[in-house]
């Protein structure tokens, strides 16, 4: 249990998807103009990560790993294509259910819901998971779930924070060519410096 909590804290604050690895930056920069839409997209990312990471973990563990399916067969070169198919299939499903049950959220997110499939943080989490010593069996499954969920929470925190700052930026006197994208990058850089202070925390 202690391991899981420590893993969660690490992936939310220290190995933050945005501030440490820059994953999912495209939608992060494009949808962070208003806090309400940022919350919607952040929630969608948490949901998709929390489901697809353990799903991909199980597929990797029981099908793709060397000797997993048939002794002597190594299918790990298929990892990319299998992971991305799982993710895009799942996102398609989520998109259809959001369209049906929350039309307001659907129209607010617009094009970015289908683009979660190509949000690097989703595939990135699946690929980072491969390098983590989660082990097999139920413990590994629990670790993968916690990892996916807390990576999503880290992404959520990052996008909501940036959206809040950008809403206030309207009242600041920024040099004209720096407005919009330029100043946003510098903001992200400064926020990333702030998150560095979490480094070295061990629980």
């Amino acid at each position: 249990m202690g391991d899981l909590i420590s893993l969660a804290i690490r992936s939310i604050f220290v190995d933050n998807m945005i501030f440490a690895y820059f994953l999912g930056m495209c939608s992060y920069l494009a949808v962070s103009k208003k806090v309400t839409t940022a919350v919607g997209l952040g929630a969608a990312v948490i949901f998709v990560l929390a489901i697809t990471v353990p799903l991909n973990w199980a597929i990797n563990e029981y099908v793709l790993k060397p000797d997993a399916l048939i002794a002597g067969v190594d299918l790990s070169f298929l990892q990319f294509i299998v992971f991305i198919s799982v993710i895009s299939g799942f996102v398609q499903l989520t998109e259809m259910s959001v369209e049906k049950f929350a039309p307001a959220l659907y129209s607010a997110l617009g094009i970015f819901l289908p683009l979660i499939a190509v949000n690097c943080s989703i595939l990135g989490a699946a690929l980072f998971m491969l390098g983590k010593p989660f082990g097999g069996g139920l413990g590994g499954f629990a670790s993968a779930t916690v990892y996916g969920l807390s990576s999503g929470i880290g992404w959520f925190i990052a996008i909501v924070l940036l959206a809040a700052i950008r809403e206030k930026m309207k009242y600041s006197n920024v040099p004209k060519p720096l407005k919009g994208l330029g100043i946003t990058f510098i903001l992200v850089g400064l926020m990333s410096l702030g998150f560095l202070s979490f480094m070295g925390i061990t629980i």
Binding site: F22, F80, I84, C120, K179, G189
Partner: protein, 224 residues
């Protein structure tokens, strides 16, 4: 659907391989319509692999290869893809090319492949690739699509190399692995590496300043 038919009719007139329109496809993304600084695509890897110039160069080459050939391939089969499942078809095509690049890097350039780590795999979800497939290859003939892919790959590469140039020079005083300034270097000038440039934060700030410089030159500004 109707626009595709119209396009096909217009392009019936045969044009030279490097007509003005085709050259524009290749040159435009280098500056005026740059994928990273103007279209805001493919940011993740532009920030993450630019600590040194060598991995940045190979990343740019890999992405150019994948964008160009996915564009070409999707353009060949564009009229047979059902539009409801096009994203999945596109992802499948892109990941085939990425697997090829990844296996090649692993086989022949293992250190580079280690340095790039997950970012080779993440070319699949690089927005430049998907963005060009959606916006260009689905509606255009193979040859312009190939050029468009190459152009956008090069545009991405220029930004990657520019960011890596500043980060490597200011961060560790070297370029492409050769020590340029600092103790026991070629010039012998005194220099203390700036740790900020090695951190993720340094990349963000460099990209922000690059965008500032480019927009000040082109006279382009956003509303807020």
């Amino acid at each position: 659907m109707s626009t595709q038919v119209a396009d096909a009719k217009v392009e019936k007139v045969s044009e030279p391989l490097f007509s003005k329109k085709n050259r524009k496809l290749l040159v435009d993304p280098l500056d005026g319509n740059n994928p990273v600084t103007v279209q805001v695509l493919g940011i993740c890897s532009a920030l993450a692999v630019t600590v040194q110039m060598k991995p940045a160069l190979f990343m740019a080459l890999g992405l150019t290869f994948v964008t160009a050939f996915s564009n070409l391939f999707i353009s060949f089969i564009r009229n047979t893809i059902p539009s409801r499942i096009r994203i999945i078809v596109q992802l499948a095509v892109v990941s085939l090319w990425v697997i090829l690049v990844d296996q090649l890097l692993k086989a022949y350039m293992y250190d580079i492949s280690k340095q790039l780590s997950v970012f080779v795999g993440l070319i699949i979800t690089n927005c430049i690739v998907m963005g060009r497939l959606e916006a260009f290859a689905m509606a255009n003939k193979p040859w312009p699509s190939l050029l468009d892919g190459l152009g956008n790959g090069f545009g991405y590469g220029i930004i990657l190399l520019a960011v890596a140039f500043f980060r490597e020079l200011l961060g560790s005083g070297s370029l492409y692995g050769y020590k340029i300034i600092g103790a026991d270097s070629l010039t012998g000038l005194p220099y203390q590496g700036n740790g900020l440039m090695m951190l993720p934060a340094g990349a963000c700030i460099i990209v922000g300043l690059l965008i500032w410089a480019q927009r000040a030159r082109n006279g382009y500004a956003e509303d807020h």
